[in-house]
């Protein structure tokens, strides 16, 4: 029985059957809302789907040897881990089955960015290597804040288990942690103020420069799934405790949608920052809030 529930969670909701259309939908919402804010009409509704189908039917350059095999493997690993992260989200209350904890979810969320770094270096393109180096620097800067924020949420609720975190009522401290997570999301999703690794006008497409056809389609899809997983994590942490499963699912989707709109608005309103400014922003400006969140969480915990 547990196996069936776990499979249903991974394959149906919030897993692949929900997450892949949701990934395309979020990618469309991002492009469309940026277009609307620039006074354009923007791409049609099915655009990310058309892009995916077209890329799947395109050819790839011949690759040989270990480097070629690795280049083919990275997008698949990224896709699998992003899909796993979406499947772990505790959207439905008391669903049973495999209950991962917050640490596994964080690892799965981090794996796609590791894959991007590795892909850029194994593509042996100068632009890919620059993009990977930028991605690594970005990852080092935002992850401190991101992990501290997650830790503060976990510490304030006395648990690392996802189900328990989703079930507990939210506190002001938790909202502070969620705010710090939202500050990190543009960097995690490579959105505009922090779109350094794939800066089109500077370094072609960064780590993706040498990718084509189905491999690129896998990258696009894993990026979409990252959108679903990252916004879903915030949505589950913010969502109030609800009894009915359909109401919980509805609130989850609505909150994710609101976060996508917020992030797109930030992306269209800002220009790209330089790498040193980005690192300084995370280490000097937002680290203070993250440290504040975790210290107050620990303080509350040990006082009680």
């Amino acid at each position: 029985m547990n196996l069936i529930t776990a499979l249903a969670r991974f394959l149906i909701f919030p897993g692949l059957l929900f997450a892949i259309p949701a990934a395309w939908f979020f990618l469309w919402v991002e492009r469309k809302s940026v277009a609307l804010m620039q006074g354009r009409v923007g791409p049609p509704f099915m655009q990310p789907f058309f892009d995916f189908v077209k890329l799947m039917a395109k050819g790839t350059p011949p690759r040989s040897g270990i480097a070629g095999a690795l280049m083919r493997a990275w997008p698949l690993i990224a896709l699998a881990s992003a899909a796993g992260a979406v499947g772990l989200l505790p959207v439905l209350p008391a669903s049973g089955g495999f209950e991962g904890d917050l640490i596994l979810l964080l690892a799965l969320l981090e794996l796609p960015s590791m894959c991007i770094i590795a892909a850029g270096f194994s593509s042996q393109s100068i632009f890919g290597e620059i993009g990977s180096a930028r991605e690594a620097a970005l990852s080092v800067s935002y992850n401190i804040v991101f992990l501290l924020a997650i830790l503060s949420v976990a510490a304030s609720q006395h648990t690392f288990r996802l189900e328990a975190l989703a079930a507990l009522p939210s506190s002001p401290l938790r909202l502070l942690g969620v705010l710090a997570i939202i500050v990190c999301l543009p960097a995690k999703l490579h959105l505009n103020p922090f779109s350094l690794p794939n800066a089109e006008q500077e370094i072609y497409s960064g780590p993706m420069t040498e990718y084509a056809g189905p491999e690129l389609a896998m990258w696009e899809l894993s990026h979409g799934l990252e959108w679903v997983a990252a916004t879903g994590l915030v949505a589950t942490l913010m969502a109030p405790q609800l009894g009915a499963w359909w109401l919980a699912a509805l609130v989850f989707v609505a909150l994710s949608f609101a976060i996508v709109i917020l992030l797109s608005a930030i992306a269209s309103a800002t220009a790209r920052l330089a790498i040193d400014t980005t690192v300084r922003f995370y280490w000097q400006c937002t680290l203070i809030f993250a440290v504040l969140a975790i210290s107050s969480a620990l303080f509350v915990r040990y006082r009680l």
């Binding site: 009409v41 923007g42 892009d51 077209k54 084509a212």
Partner: protein, 203 residues
């Protein structure tokens, strides 16, 4: 299976990704190409995206009269675009080498080096003409894909008849009605080129 092929052809027509290459252009056409993606013209309605890497692109947009230095780069970039692919020559320069016709620094026109699918004439062409050229190239791309997979183009002919022009375009708030302006654009190699060619032959 047939349905899948039709879906692929449809997707190819609806999602043309461009790579822009300058082969010694004066920058006039390059500016117009970028203007085609701006809020006034908004080529993204057709699914057009300007890509940074030729590996991602379907359509290679080449401007400029092809200088001798650019020939090697054109061959490299054309090889880097994965198939099926199409080439759009933007402006009069890649079509005829334009005012630079007898220059010793040139090795044009473009068709000497790569097969060109669509010529967009003008010096520089208007952004709407560029959008129409790209839409035509996307149509050619879809048909080429269908033919390469061994399918008769009959299935596609219905689609191409219905949608040969990018009629899905809605007028943007700031711009005029695009479709009205598209009608006034010439879509093949300009008459000036033919005149020049005959003049050369007579000479």
């Amino acid at each position: 299976m047939n349905l899948l092929r039709r879906l692929i052809c449809y997707a190819r027509r609806r999602s043309p990704w461009l790579f822009h290459m300058n082969s010694g252009s004066c920058n006039g056409c390059d500016i117009e190409l970028v203007a085609a993606l701006s809020p006034r013209y908004d080529a993204e309605q057709l699914g057009v995206r300007l890509e940074g890497s030729p590996r991602h692109a379907d359509i290679l947009c080449i401007t400029g009269p092809v200088t001798k230095n650019a020939v090697g780069a054109i061959h490299t970039v054309y090889g880097q675009v994965c198939g099926p692919k199409a080439v759009v020559a933007i402006g009069s320069c890649p079509a005829t080498t334009n005012v630079f016709i007898d220059s010793r620094t040139l090795d044009g026109p473009l068709q000497k080096h790569v097969p060109v699918d669509v010529f967009v004439p003008g010096c520089p062409p208007r952004p709407d003409a560029i959008i129409q050229g790209v839409a035509k190239a996307a149509q050619i791309l879809a048909e080429r894909g269908a033919r390469r997979e061994g399918e008769a183009v009959a299935a596609l002919a219905i689609e191409s008849g219905a949608d040969a022009n990018p009629q899905g375009l809605k007028p943007s708030e700031k711009g005029d009605a695009l479709s009205a302006r598209l009608k006034s654009c010439p879509d093949t190699l300009c008459a000036a080129h033919d005149e020049r060619k005959t003049a050369e032959e007579q000479r």
